[in-house]
Amino acid sequence: MEIKVFLAILLSTILINNYVLSRILGICPFLGVSKKLDSALGMGLAVIFVMTLTSFITHPIYKYVLVGYRITYLTIIVFILVIAAVVQLVEMVIRKISPVLHQSLGIFLPLITTNCAVLGVVLLNISSGFAKPNVSMGLLKSVVQGFGGGAGFTLALLIMAGIRERLEIADVPENLKGVPITFITAGLLALAFYGFSGMKI
């Protein structure tokens, strides 16, 4: 029974409500880092990691500190500072533990602080009601939603990077080169992903 709920959250965040192509979050890195497949993969992994971790951390902070002390009006400030701190911490830990991983993920980590998909997922965790006192396994649901959001972002980024590598050699009209053709591609992808909205879980 419970397993089904988590599967539904995963499917919904990865395919049906894909963060990039359906909710339109995280467009800046989607445009900026989708030129090559390997850098897209690095960015995607970093985003999955940070989203899962921030979902895990912000859940108890909201439930026990912000709601507990009735200071929910500070939510935005607290969340953005938590994200910035987590990103900074992750960067330091990775640099210490695995220099190889740091070399491949390092340059993407500072960019993640201003990735609106990360702040978006922690805010959506709250508005989905996972932090309400009567919801069972809310923490796990938040973490799954965070992971799913990151995975959906990575999926969109990888598809886009694959297409853009081909677009390099295609004959694109002069004025469409660069960002406009990328947006048209993204629109076609979004149309394709729109097909998933008929899925019933």
Binding site: I24, C28, I76, T113, G187, A190, L191
Partner: protein, 198 residues
């Protein structure tokens, strides 16, 4: 210093979305109707002006290695003001803008202006710069939402245009947002390249 120039550059020459390429997320997601676009512009302009003034005020005392967290906290405070005021006075708008109000915090335009302009300039130019950038942001948003509202929901300013016609719902959804912005950027490039060739 030419004050008019500081104000006007955000509108066309350094337009945040069309030329600099920042702040696409709210632009695409919010441009489903003109009323959404209007309130988003009000919010972003308020935050931009407020954060530009404060950043410019503290530009001599803020330690440079701590400046980004300081700026983000300032911006988040102004966004909280917008969030709470809209919730109190415009609940319908608050509901339809959803999480994109708190997400003004991570709108790169605002942090970008603080970094690029406000921390190097006195208060008045920073204020004008913020206002101009906000209006430039709003104009792009207005054009986008104008087309999307007509095509996607058969309405303009909330009034039905052709009674009984079924609108193309895809224009209200994400694909329509991507296509409309792509065509807008295309037109922009065409105008600019014609200017260059002349």
């Amino acid at each position: 210093m030419n004050y008019w120039k500081e104000f006007a550059k955000g509108i066309w020459k350094r337009n945040p979305q069309l030329i600099v390429g920042l702040g696409f997320c709210p632009t695409l997601a919010i441009s489903t109707s003109i009323s959404n676009a209007f309130w988003m512009t009000v919010g972003v302009t308020f935050v931009l002006m407020g954060s530009n003034i404060l950043v410019s005020l503290i530009r001599r005392i803020a330690p440079s290695h701590l400046r980004i967290p300081i700026y983000i906290t300032i911006i988040a405070a102004f966004v909280t003001i917008v969030d709470l005021s809209l919730k109190a006075y415009q609940p319908a708008v608050y509901k339809s803008l959803g999480i994109f109000i708190p997400l003004i915090v991570v709108n790169c335009i605002i942090l970008g202006r603080a970094e690029e302009f406000a921390q190097r300039n006195p208060i008045l130019p920073s204020l004008l710069d913020g206002a101009g950038m906000g209006i430039g942001f709003g104009l792009t948003l207005f054009v986008l939402s104008f087309f999307r509202e007509i095509l996607g929901s058969n309405k303009l300013f909330g009034f039905t245009l052709i009674p009984g016609m079924e609108p193309a719902a895809v224009m209200i959804l994400a694909p329509g947002a991507f296509f409309t912005l792509a065509f807008m950027l295309w037109g922009m490039n065409a105008v600019n390249s014609r200017k260059r060739n002349r």
